[in-house]
Amino acid sequence: MADITTSQDTAPRSVNATTEAVRQSLARRNRKQIVLQGFGIAAIGFAVLMLGILITSIVSSGYHAFTQTHVEVEVYIDPEEVPVDRLPRGGFDDLLETAMGQYFPDADMSDRAARRAISSILSNGAQFELRDRIVADPSIIGTTITLNVPVSDPYDQLNKGLVDRDTLERNRRVDDAAIARFDRLDELGLISKPLNTGLVTNADSRFPELAGLKGALVGSFWALLTCFVISFPLGIGAAIYLEEFAPRNRVSDFIEVNINNLAAVPSVVFGLLALAVFINWFGLPRSAPFVGGLTLALMTMPTIIIATRAALKAVPPSIREAALGVGASKHQVVFGHVLPLAMPGILTGTIIGLAQALGETAPLLLIGMNAFITSAPSGPFDSATALPTQIFIWADSPERGFVSRTSAAILVLLAFLITMNAIAIFLRNRFERRW
């Protein structure tokens, strides 16, 4: 546009020349617009692509952990090895070694190393399962029972095709002899790959094939319950006061600034607060889901307050005026009319806040919810882990089998988050009123 005015100053041009100049610059300007749009689409494409890679990589490594290779072994329970009067002690591992030996008639079972190599196919948990079955029913001593137990991690990887048989033997975690043994069991039809129920029914373990999420799920449940019980009433109370009752003065301004800032304080700082105040000063137990829930409640409260205030604001003044008009007090208006109408919005905000709390990791690490605990907690004051901290522990573990376990745990966590958000969206769509 600028060149039109300058050209008029120098010499009068024909109309055609001006049109031509405009047309040319227009083409250039349109090209610029297309370039900008291209950049925009590229940026969105990048974000979507990254989300795609993230989900694909986690699903592709995680789905392996939803099945678990099992082996079926016939075990003769030798009364010599397991005398009734010494239960629950006994030579359970020897029983298993002998039992495995029957499938390898060529092996020299007097050689310790050979026996060890053969029984290494079984998970370390096999002897405990055998022990538990015998203790539960000592009359099976002297008979032969069928045991269906997980195989140990390297063989599990082999069966799932995660160990490449074509690589050099010294670069593989399973040597040729081990592969041969495994294939023999497979030919005998003893190998199966059922759904891995242990993933949710077992607690944590050092052995990937035995490790499960039960402890983490129960721990997260208690932590979230504590978080909800504390942050929901406190958040709603604070929001109602600030939105409906508080006089506009410095104190309420200060509280408001405070809440907005708390929402942006790094989560690890809340962990420091919990460690110093709850654990060191108040002497509450470490690693307890209750302390975790308390910390998460402080972090969730600003979210709930902000959501509740928005929901209260959305209730039209006519409702309040009508109620006031028929003689209700301010409290009766708020608790009898405004709050029930705002409830769907409040619940939506609360569920979204709880979903955030469920994925929060850093503060839980600082209060020690990353401990190695092999049983599920029986209450909110027992030591426990939570889902995200369990993911962190497994991600740190060197065994190969934990890579897929970690991804599977992430998928479980994401499933919970998606469910919670879906409930929130459902509530919003089903009950929210537009005025």
């Binding site: 974000a47 604070a238 509280i255 942006a264 790094p266 700082v269 409290h331 994925g359 990791t361």
Partner: protein, 458 residues
């Protein structure tokens, strides 16, 4: 016993409600004009009983454990704890507790068994005392509230006053939290600075908190110079912002001005998913996919990329921040008055020119606010860096190298050993203090910009 105490509380509150309501109804049926509805007389009793008893119970439960532990340790024979540091004392306490819980390992000394028995006895006594106290207090409060019922008694005002008080308390929790954070950080940091000088911490170039073995080595070696740690955070946060700011802004520009409506309805939820993924998942993504990919790419072009390069942690953090920045920028662009847009278009500007020359400059304050909040998120982000960044502090700004970050150090220093009397643990609080102050300043500044800007156009 705790459950029993809560049961008493609930029953007492309901009993108070029923008693007062019936009494009030009886007076009304007798023909008197009541100031308040019977319901409020009942509610008054309920609140008068429930609130003090609940407060008593909670305070009791919070303090009980610590008080009993202290009584147990005070009851030990003279001189058993002499010359022991806090760690050893806590170990003894833990052993006594596990004995009293029935888990005995080996053969503990006589005095430990005695202490364990005392511990069990104290717990039982405390539980019984708690129930008795709750019972007595409930009974007293029920009687008190029952005596208030009268035609002229303003029960509704009483109820409303109590409810208002409760709501004010709820609002104050936010302030208590801030005070708690500041108190915790200030106390522990002060302890730290009594061991290591402030200038050493803020300007020292050597960070080796795990090294000190003898106590006199700590200050002498200057192992608590936090500059390399701060530098690491700056490097990682810069990488993150280099990824997130351009991508986020372009995303917002396209979605705000050019995207067809249906495209918007598809892309917005996808961005929300990206924002909702927990950070521990991003951290695992960084070590599972991004870091190996960067490393093999580096090898193919002849660059030496560290296995836990700042590029991986920063890049993944950048991906996490994209939706954060784009939503702030989108809001800021939408807040620009329609008249500005119409004016530019009417003058013959293309939509790209309208966006770049009119809308974007007008939205700059809001966008800057959003970017600042993203900076504070990047500095305070923990899980991605804990999992994907290094542990050793190096003075380098090369993003291909492994660097550490403030949050990484806080977490690694506090995992495991947490005796509150050595500089290693306390250093984490000093770092936390710096983190809190820096993010606080950025947040206050950013929130002020965002708010001010909204007011201008509203």
């Amino acid at each position: 016993m705790t459950g029993f105490a809560f049961l008493i509380l609930i029953i007492a509150a309901i009993a108070g409600y029923v008693l007062n309501r019936q009494a009030a109804t009886a007076i009304r049926n007798g023909g008197a004009r009541m100031h308040s509805l019977s319901f409020f007389h009942g509610m008054f009793a309920l609140l008068v009983v429930a609130v003090p008893v609940l407060v008593l119970l909670l305070v009791w439960l919070v303090l009980q454990g610590a008080v009993i532990d202290r009584l147990t340790m005070a009851g030990l024979p003279e001189g058993t704890l002499e010359g022991l540091d806090t760690g050893a004392v806590q170990l003894i306490l833990a052993e006594i507790k596990s004995i009293s819980g029935g888990r005995v390992f080996g053969t503990p000394e006589e005095w430990k068994i005695a202490a364990a028995e005392r511990h069990v006895w104290l717990h039982q006594a405390a539980a019984i005392l708690m129930v008795i106290t709750v019972l007595v207090l409930s009974a007293v409060l029920i009687l008190f509230s029952r005596r208030t019922v009268a035609a002229g008694f303003r029960a509704r005002h009483g109820v409303e006053r109590i409810v208002s008080g409760l709501m004010i308390f709820c609002s104050l929790v936010a302030i208590f939290t801030t005070v708690g954070i500041i108190a915790a950080l200030v106390f522990e940091t002060a302890k730290f600075f009594s061991m290591v000088s402030i200038s050493e911490f803020l300007f020292g170039l050597n960070w080796e908190p795990q090294i000190p073995i003898r106590e006199d080595q700590i200050a002498a070696e200057g192992a608590f110079g936090a500059v390399p740690v701060f530098l690491g955070t700056i490097v990682i946060a810069s990488v993150a912002l280099l990824v997130a700011v351009p991508t986020g802004l372009l995303t917002a520009i396209y979605l705000n001005e050019f995207a067809p409506k249906r495209f918007r309805t598809v892309v917005k939820p996808i961005l929300e998913i990206l924002a909702g993924v927990p950070t521990v998942v991003y951290g695992f993504f960084a070590i599972l996919v991004v870091a190996p990919a960067l490393r093999s790419f580096g090898q193919s072009v002849g660059l030496d990329v560290a296995p836990n390069t700042a590029l991986a942690a920063g890049g993944v953090m950048g991906i996490m921040l994209i939706p954060f920045i784009s939503s702030f920028a989108d809001d800021a662009l939408s807040a620009v008055p329609q008249s500005l847009r119409d004016g530019a278009l009417a003058l013959g500007a293309t939509r790209a020119e309208t966006m770049l020359n009119v809308l974007f400059p007008a939205a700059i304050p809001g966008i800057v606010g959003g970017v600042l909040l993203a900076v504070s998120r990047a500095i305070g982000e923990t899980m991605i860096v804990v999992m994907a960044a290094g542990l050793i502090a190096r003075m380098t700004i090369n993003p291909l190298d492994s660097v550490t970050a403030v949050t990484v150090q806080i977490v690694t220093l506090l995992i495991g050993d947490t005796a509150f009397d050595n500089p290693k643990t306390l250093a984490a609080f000093a770092l936390g203090m710096v983190l809190f102050l820096v993010t606080l300043v950025i947040n206050v500044f950013a929130l002020r910009i965002v708010r001010k800007y909204r007011e201008i156009y509203d």
